[in-house]
Point group: C4
Chain length 252, copies 4
């Protein structure tokens, strides 16, 4: 398996588009700067030359990631170009989602603080405002006990757990992980980042609205959510420019 | 229509007062720095030479706006001086409010985070302290379904929706937009900014007070609110100097 | 009256201790940096040479105050050394507290955000932890309607309202102002700053604890509060050094 | 006693490992930067050469600590190398925990804001997500009235109170102090810092989840908590690098 992967590597490593790498580095920094990622969590991109590979930083805090930290992985979670670099324990979140969902081109796994409470109580995360419209597709919750039993360490640390998570996610853009965090996917790095940030914002607003309204809240209806999501997907470049400028300001 | 607008432009473009432009740029930066605007939302000013025109940045995050990004629009939402610049989809919020309300000289549209919950539950935003006195005039809520039906993308993206919003706003300084955000108007850019910031602060304090007091809260009465608002309108220069210094510090 | 004040000025202006002025400037900056003051609110010190005078910045945001902004006032609220500088409308908060309470050497008036809710609901602010021990003396609430009727602009804008506030405060270190903010006094500028910061912190913690415990909370008892306050008053220099370094960092 | 200590000092002072001192200085800065410590609170390390001594900064705000501020103490709380430096009043928290628990190599005492409410209400702090797994061992609450009576100043200011606190803590990594704060211990400085930061994060998330779920929350079970804690203890270096870089950025 590793040999096969290595031969793939000979074909693809180092050939990922420079702009894709740049976006992925920026995504790492942005998600930290926006409070979605802390010392843990990660973001990946499907390889632009080979859809059976993906790009993910070595095991480190996303706020510190630079281009030289980006590694290439195959769908077994094996690094193509380790060069002594350590891989995240939970890289199988990424590999299995890319394997199961061909349309996904970027994956964020985070411990997004306002989102975590929604994963441990029986209250569904729903679109409270237009920027959370993408949540209208439904937000499934992954209970690791269903796939891994009662005695895991909560980590999606092997292909089986990754595949179970990918199945729970289905075609939704966001899936919660009970007692852990969430996964957010997109058709581009920028879209995944947009969704990850606004999943956090939506969760914060929804939690507050539920308290203020004592549970009586008007959410976007299905069609409003769908159309808002469509409109917003064409606008992800606007906050991206701002977030990128802020997150990379220290690099200048 | 565009030809007509262009002939107006020949008369007015470029002639807006330099101090007004400067205030509008500062307003963009301040509202971002104070957490009222994020990558989305915008602030405009009525043109000082021609009351049938208004000034608004091109489609971009307000935190990054400079003087060269300020465009001039007519009341149909057509840019007088596009020069290749893209306009905000929701410029009709501004055009229709200026058209309907001659006394308004500045408009803020935001996704002010503490305010959004008040737009989706049946709890009125009310003045909890003197700096929110301007809310005493009442805070109407715009339900886009009433004007646009059940299947909009939530955006005020045409003159008809803008006109409906302007009608709902009436003579109030602040109007909420269900599942979206709010609009705040003022008799000057500085007053609109003052109100936008303190609408957010008041919402945060009110939400907290309602919880702490389990719904039993003493609000400003009508006369207290009116008089406090009058006093404060004469004091908007004080926080403005501070906010401006902070927001533009990076430019030095 | 103004003439008399001026003759006092001839005796005292400019002669306030340099360290006191320095502490007062630092207090202005610290209270802004710690989120107790925003564009509004102020902090004063009793004059060290003449106990019938006090020092207070001209009307401006505290975050921008420097030594040249510090003015001297008499107990009628008249500036001794205006030199064209404008006085805060609410300087009577300070003048009347100094007049009524000889042991007070510093006064903070703020719109401290976590504190305001306690002023508008029937829940008393109480010491939730040792650093809020000074609250154990009781925290009275000033209802301006009692002194000024139902139609004020909420501001303590004359000696009569100031005197009423000073009476309500009594010997307590902290008094709330309904629909407005609070006043905090100390035996030194540093003690008043310490108390103002920890009044805000205590309010935040108490509000959270009341929710978490659904109203069932163990507060410090009277003796714990009194002793903790005594101990902490001897420790105010420790956070002061930190806060001062942070708040004045930009001046270097 | 002091003489004996001094003779120990002759043997050990100055000989603590440079990397340990460096970690302890970084821990002081990190805990301030992460909002666990403010002007008060402290962090210590057991001496690497002599297990009956420990290292702790002089009485000052942790955010300002440098290597020259680190003092060495014996288990009676006597400084070995005072050189005119003042010791924290509550150094007995550290001395008695090191004395009672040989496996502990670092101790944090803080007024961690999200944690304090859990110490004053009848709601147990429990692991809401994998990074709080170490809380699964149970979080005891120290009631100072049990050891010191009804009239203390709330401080653990002598060996007797320190010993009582150490007994309450037992083998748990975290213990709350009613009306005061908490203590967190670790097998290394980095582990104690990791636990202190995630105790705060877990408290914030748990409080929010309890409200959102109206008390119905799925916590990690005992085995999930134990295994997650084990996994995470091997990962403390990852956030440490990030936190250290951020906290010491100003030193460059």
């Amino acid at each position: 398996m590793i040999l096969a992967a290595t031969s793939v590597a000979a074909r693809s490593t180092g050939s990922a588009d420079a702009e894709l790498i740049d976006d992925l580095v920026a995504a790492n920094r942005i998600l930290a700067d926006q409070g979605v990622l802390d010392g843990f969590g990660h973001v990946s991109a499907r390889h632009d030359k080979d859809p059976n590979l993906f790009l993910l930083a070595r095991s480190m805090a996303s706020a510190l990631v630079t281009a030289t930290d980006i590694m290439t992985f195959d769908f077994d979670g094996n690094p193509i170009d380790p060069r002594g670099r350590t891989a995240y324990l939970e890289r199988f979140i990424h590999s299995e989602i890319y394997k199961a969902h061909p349309g996904v081109r970027a994956v964020v796994h985070s411990h997004s603080p306002a989102v975590i409470p929604f994963g441990v109580v029986g209250v569904a995360l729903r679109p409270i405002f237009h920027l959370g419209g993408f949540l209208g597709a439904g937000v499934p919750v992954f209970e690791i006990r269903d796939a891994g039993g009662e005695t895991t360490d909560m980590l999606v640390r092997n292909p089986e757990l990754g595949a179970a998570l990918a199945r729970t996610l289905g075609r939704a853009p966001v899936g919660l992980m009970r007692g852990h965090g969430d996964v957010v996917v997109g058709r581009s790095v920028r879209e995944a980042v947009f969704r990850a940030v606004y999943t956090e914002v939506n969760a914060r607003l929804q939690s507050e609205a539920l308290r203020l309204g004592q549970g009586q809240v008007v959410f976007l209806n299905e069609e409003e959510a769908r159309r808002a999501a469509e409109t917003n997907s064409a606008q992800v470049g606007r906050p991206w420019e701002l977030w990128r400028a802020k997150a990379l300001a220290g690099d200048r």
